[in-house]
């Protein structure tokens, strides 16, 4: 059984038909990349998975269960976490408070241990734990947003453009952390415009064009694909 399955999902922003029948699957343990240009519907796809938007047609199933009947706020407890586009850290809360918000639904006693684990993953966050998140650099905010998402102990992590606006060195670091997180057992669905990096770490990939899946294959095959090379990798 796939951990995530989108079946013919259509979604609208008002009258704009943003998703026109998106179907994709993510298997447990994979890193799947969803690449595409501006306005292709990448963020909309993630928002539909998190139930921040509901599909008008089609279904989203998580571990075989249709998510339709759950409130969006209930999905964190089911094991879905998202790092939103633009990071979405709570700027007027401290780093530590941001991490605690990630564990909002949890009532167990291991929250403190998990915070220590996040500090190990991102030592910079530990140095800045009492600082307001809004005062940190873009890279630090990205680390915080990822750490915060991990605090909910997700089985599926959705990442929306984690490389956006970051220096190349930081992008490398963020992507290697994504690989680490995946190795520790979290399935990853990665949305990226930086197709080169995204396909490098992914097992499989989908190419989204104007609200529909244009291509789907293993990441290696996509890297060799002529259209992908031309449009997304900039290879002539």
């Amino acid at each position: 059984m796939s951990i995530l399955e989108l079946n013919d999902v259509h979604a609208y922003y008002g009258k704009i038909h943003a998703l026109k029948g998106v179907s994709l699957t993510v298997e447990k343990g994979e890193i799947v990349s969803l690449i595409g240009g501006n306005g292709a519907g990448k963020t909309t796809t993630l928002r539909t998975i998190c139930a921040l938007m509901r599909p008008t047609v089609g279904s989203v199933t998580f571990n075989g269960e249709n998510l339709e009947r759950y409130k969006p706020s209930a999905l964190t407890a089911k094991g879905i976490a998202m790092v939103p586009e633009g990071r979405g850290v709570f700027a007027r809360m401290t780093v530590l408070e941001n991490l605690e918000m990630g564990a909002f639904h949890r009532k167990d006693k291991e929250i403190g241990d998990d915070i220590d684990r996040i500090y190990e993953l991102f030592p910079r966050l530990k140095e800045r734990r009492t600082q307001l998140a809004g005062t940190m650099s873009g890279g630090e905010q990205q680390m915080l947003a990822m750490g915060r998402a991990m605090m909910s102990r997700p089985s599926l992590l959705l990442l929306d453009e984690p490389s956006m606006g970051l220096a190349p060195v930081l992008v490398e670091a963020i992507f290697s952390t994504i690989v680490d997180i995946n190795k520790q057992g979290t399935t990853v669905l990665l949305v990226e415009q930086n197709a080169l990096m995204a396909l490098n770490i992914a097992d499989r990939g989908y190419v989204l064009q104007t609200g529909a899946i244009a291509l789907s294959d293993s990441a290696k095959a996509l890297q060799q694909n002529e259209m992908v090379q031309k449009v997304y990798l900039g290879i002539e």
Binding site: L52, K71, P72, A77, G88, M93
Partner: protein, 358 residues
Amino acid sequence: MTLTQRLRGIDWISAALWVFRAVIIILVIVGTVRKLFLGVGTQYTTQDWLDFISSGLSQGGLYALIALGYTMVYGVLFMINFAHGEFFMSGALTSTMLVASTLSRSGFMNEQPIIYLVIVTVAAVLTSMAVALLTERVAYRPLRRAPRLVPLITAIGASFFWQYFFRGLFGSEIKPFPVPAILEGWITIAGITFLKVRFVTLVASLIALILLYLFIMKTKTGKAIRAVAEDKDVATLMGIDVDRTIAMTFAVGAGMAGIAAILWALVFRQAHFYMGFVPGIKAFTAAVLGGIGSIPGAALGGLFLGLIEAVGPPLFLEGLGIPAAHQLKDVTAFTLLVLILIFRPQGIIGERLAEKKA
């Protein structure tokens, strides 16, 4: 840049505003000097001035408590809840009619004054919360995605609805609020004499403000309210139920208004269906003064407004030779509101909106 070049760069509107600013400041200074050093108007003793200050601060504490409701709701919804004064009124009136008058008639009030105060306060807080939750659920929640003007108009409608609902329920005459005998008279602390009820009001509102601040900063619910105020979508992703948190915000704000309602009734010894209007507008002024959306801002704005209202008229208005200046405290308050909106729309410690919405 030469002086003439700089002068030419200033357009006439900002020049007019500078003149306006200067005139106001000069009037305040001239009035104060004439009052204090030239002996214009009534002569006040030191005790009189201390009275003005202490009653101003205790009134300010009440404004601060009510202002919290405006500022917290604005924080999560970017909406001015003009029905908030009615949450305040509903608590005071219901508690007076159903609880306070019964307990005073039976004699319980003066036998157990502390327990009496606790009971009437709890009754007021619960009523205010219930009215707020009902208003939020029925009138505001369905309009969550409507343009921002729509809930604003609805709030004004809700305000009228509650006024006439409570008038229909309890009648339109002014109801006396029974005050226990222990709160009568004066108290002397550190050589300064206070009206007892004013002192209790100030202390109680300061305690409530501090407890609320701790609640918002330290508890899980408080953090959820802050998260929702920052970003509703991301708060949802954290597993926070946004609708419940917004309802919680209304309830907490209304609870503070309920506490203020009883303190208000203790000071003014009465309750009626229209009593929410002026305190509501004043507290809104206080919230804007401090910087709407900011909790410490609401507290500071409230205390500052109360102080200016009490001290301003006898100090600089009388000094300017205005007769019966003590009747002009509302003018002072609302002039201050206009000045703040012109010169410092983000309030005393508020942040610039552009930063918040970005």
